[in-house]
Amino acid sequence: MTGLAGVGALVRLALRRDRVLLPSWIAVLALVAISSAAATGDLYPTAASVVRAVGAVNDTPAMVALYGRVPDVGSLGALAMLKPLATGALAVAVLAIVLVVRHTRAEEDAGRLELVQAGAVGRFAPLTAALVVVVGANAVLGAVTAVGLGAVGLPVAGSVAVALAWFAVALVFAAVAGVTAQLVTGARAATGLAVALLGAAFGVRAVGDTAAPWLSWASPLAWAQQVRPYAGDRWWVGGLAVLTAAVVSTAAYALVARRDLGGGLLPDRAGPARAGRDLRSTTGLAWRLHRGPLLAWAAGFAAYGLVVGGVAADVGGMLTSDQARQLFAELGGQGELTDTVLAAMLGILGVVASVYGVQATLRAAAEENTGRAALLLSAPVGRLRWAAGHLAAACAGVVVVLVSAGLAAGAVHAVRTGDAGQVGRVVLGAVVQAPAGWVLAGIVLAVYGAAPRLAAAGWGAVVVFVLLGELGPLLGLPGWLSDLSPYAHVPHLPGGQFSAWPVAALAAVAAVAAFGGLLALRGRDLG
């Protein structure tokens, strides 16, 4: 089939472009899984201690919502892999989405695909090459992980099942990204839509695992747990994923066949011939560029808020075992159990909101790399004002998405508990997350100001900070190291102690980082 001509060359090109991204992603994921497996083995030396720990986890709705259930009370492997399996599934899904969009739609937007396709490269080659890269990367990741897990003493079959579980999730979301890349009019929107679907899959799994187990089957993200590594190893779930991926990617190929290069499926309608009053300044432009993504994020956050508000009251009451109560109390302080559930859920939102902050700040780098900034800054516009505008949009956006989640969760929670005062408490719990997001936005601006090509390293900061929080206690990392993460300093509200100074300190760190970035930007060439 000539439509596939040139796949080999494109795969080689993609591997060359991703020669840093792929190995580092694989190494981080494999190391996280292997090191937590090793550490968990030391923590629970006896069968009885494993059973107790599994009981505590499965009785803690916040843990179940975040990571799912441990399917077998007696399995050390299943207990050890609970967190790595769930976070790893998210990570491979994100990687699959990033890879597929990056090598299909983003190339097309940059005009490079046209150049490539004018050569001896078939219509279906770019999508195929992207899928091949995803499959290959996950095969390597799976092999490394399985060998490593076996080496630290976990059963071999289960270790291979872990690899299969991740592989299944990556395959499905690669196919999903293949479809979204064809549906919408640009790489940014394609990634956004695919990540939104991933978020929905996470939500469905969280609700399903806590309240309605059958619902979890509707979420491809949950299939990783359904493989049940070290607890029965259900290989056939992998078949389900392959089947789904095949159906979805067939749709992607059909869309490729129907769509013109550069277009979306829906033709562009004519727009206004003149700019409105609001679009005649850099602030106006920043609002235009940020508002679409911001509204989508705010809607997603509100939806998550509705779910959190809806289940929080029940979840608090569902804590039956003493271990669970104790574990929860340790997690969140002395507050009521419902409050700690809310605080844990809002903590996740805080991390996700900082992702918004990072991507919104990266907008400035994208503007520069495409050359649009040069055109804009040839007008009488100070470059500091311009960059600060994008930073302000990012920081305000972080607050907006958090407030929308807080309001939604607070309102539903207030209705369920019959206590209107809950709205304010939950909104506050959401808003205090904002300074951590500002810190990440500030870090991104600092890197961008100094070295625009490295700005995407901001994503690395998010990953490192999340890992410090996830692995710090397990690996017994020193406190000062874990304290480097801004997420470690966010007050646990509602329920916990509110103190203003960590919040103020985070805001100050963000301001210093941002200021440094602006200073560097002022002194360098604009690309």
């Binding site: 727009g271 106006g284 055109l375 040839s378 604009l526």
Partner: protein, 293 residues
Amino acid sequence: MAITASGLRKAFGRTQALDGLDLFVRTGEVHGLLGPNGAGKSTALRVLLGLVRADSGAVDVLGADPWRDATAVHRRLAYVPGEVTLWPSLTGGEVIDLLGGLRGGVAHDRVAAMVERFELDPTKRCRAYSSGNRRKVALVAALASDAELLVLDEPTAGLDPLMQAVFEQCVREARAAGRTVLLASHVLAEVERLCDRVSIVRSGRVVDSGSLTELRHLTTTSVRARLAAPADGLAALPGVHDLSTDGDQVRFRVDADALGRVLPALGERGVRDLVCQPPTLEELFLSHYGSRS
């Protein structure tokens, strides 16, 4: 002087993009910047705009330092970059108004007239424009503004011949209105028709600068003649180059200042037919480009 730049040097890593570039643009003139790919034309323009800081050298644009007083300088100039990328979700009309708005507003009838002359559809989203149309958006924004100085990097690349003619007419009007234009271009005919003065850039340096007449003066005239007598001895005359004969036809190039001595020698050999041609800009150009080493 609208622009004075002297001794500009700029290195990107190991590439010396500007290597002691001197550029003088007089107020009210149309100045052409010519030179092979990678010569440093775009880099020079970016330094003049204050987007890039020169490693050394002095720049003065409209009486100010574009790096330190970027906004003040930008208020009085308009720029069309060599590669025009626009915001995919905005329409062309919105981009024109945005750029005008940043300059403090542009009379809408001027914009409307320009849009009409360039046959641009301002209601299209920028992602849907062809590359020529994207350039038109930037051109309309620059030409409709009241900037005193227009800095244009390959302004007609991708424009069809009709639109090139419209552009040339607009530049003539700009000059008539007293505006200064600095344009980098590879289209020699356009430069020849539009520019009062030209600077030729090679390897980060201006190797020649002046009006076209002045530049021609420094180079050779090509001569084609039919002679009654054999052309023996002509090749040995000082200032004569590349002589070739074909029957009674002789062709050669001669230095401008040696022409006076060569004509009598031709007369002695019985001229039946004589064509003298000043060098075309292309020849001028190739003589500079060709000596690349």
